[in-house]
């Protein structure tokens, strides 16, 4: 991901940034709005997480937004087929910064039981920068809450001046894969993914 150099940091004096970012991070980690976006059976567990028994609202993430423009976190809940992958990347591009990705379930992490199939992307990390990998088939609601808490910890530890979207040159849209004769072209985004790494 293209990131500008530190000379391009927008003017946030260090004496202010320190105390401010603690409050700022506390506020945004407790109001992570996921996108209403279900791909497969993991989406059912995601819905269960939002329901009364697990109640994701306790962690400030109850507002499943129907539009990517209003979302903060994209939960890739299920199998990403090759037919769906370009649309997934396009939806990710439409989320405003700062944005985060949780790869939920074995399929979104690595293709899962369908990894050897002709139509499944072997992990959404080929096309999107994933923040949290959540294994399981499917993960239980408690596991999704755990992933959310881990994401909150990650956000709490971020420094504002280090974030790409506060640089002068902000990261642009990710390229969309295209439908080829047998699969997607390219098979992965070389900026994000190295095979066998």
């Amino acid at each position: 991901m293209a990131v500008g150099d530190d000379a391009g940091v927008r003017q946030i004096p260090g004496a202010i940034a320190g105390p401010v970012e603690a409050v700022f991070n506390w506020a945004r980690k407790n109001s992570l709005w996921p996108m209403s976006f279900g791909l497969a059976c993991c989406a059912i567990e995601m819905i269960a997480t939002a329901a009364a028994r697990s109640d994701i609202a306790r962690f400030g993430a109850e507002l499943f937004r129907a539009s990517p423009r209003q979302a903060d976190v994209m939960i890739i809940s299920g199998t990403v087929t090759k037919k769906m992958a370009p649309l997934t990347v396009r939806l990710y591009n439409q989320i405003p910064e700062p944005k985060y990705v949780i790869a939920m379930g074995a399929c979104a992490c690595a293709g899962g039981p369908f990894a050897a199939g002709y139509n499944v992307v072997n992990g959404i990390n080929r096309y999107l920068p994933v923040d949290i990998y959540l294994p399981g088939c499917p993960p239980r609601p408690e596991a999704l809450l755990h992933a959310l808490i881990k994401l909150q910890e990650k956000i709490a530890g971020q420094r504002l001046v280090d974030l790409p979207y506060y640089k002068a040159q902000r990261p642009g849209d990710l390229p969309l894969p295209e439908y080829g004769p047998l699969g997607l072209e390219p098979p992965y985004n070389p900026d994000l993914f190295t095979p066998g790494a």
């Binding site: 690595a110 199939g117 139509n119 004769p181 047998l182």
Partner: protein, 137 residues
Amino acid sequence: MNGEVRQVTAQDLLAEVGRLQAAGFDYLSLVTAVDFIAEDQIELVYCFYSIASRKGPVTLKLRLPRTAPRAPSLLPLFRSADLQEREIYDLFGVEFEGRPGIKRLLLWDTFQGHPLRKDFQPDDDDRPVIMDERRGQ
């Protein structure tokens, strides 16, 4: 009649289905295909039920050559054949005659090949290890 399995040919499929319809079999439960690569044939399988008289299934099986397989479409008789015939065209490459233009159902239109055929070679983008082992590489 329950559980009966009949082998038919492409020529007398429509007549056979017509006889079943006349006998009260009003529900086409499934259409599917099997790739018998050793015999160089693709088999279509049709299952019929009678909702009214609670009979069935009656299974019709139809063998076609693997190269350029063509079968008569059941769409004029059963609307439920539509999506399943498109799926078989998509995944096995069987052409259906006597129905308006057939399109791929699941894969995109520019996809090459029919992935449920046994000799289909998938995309070679760094396959996981499990796939290489299965191929004996």
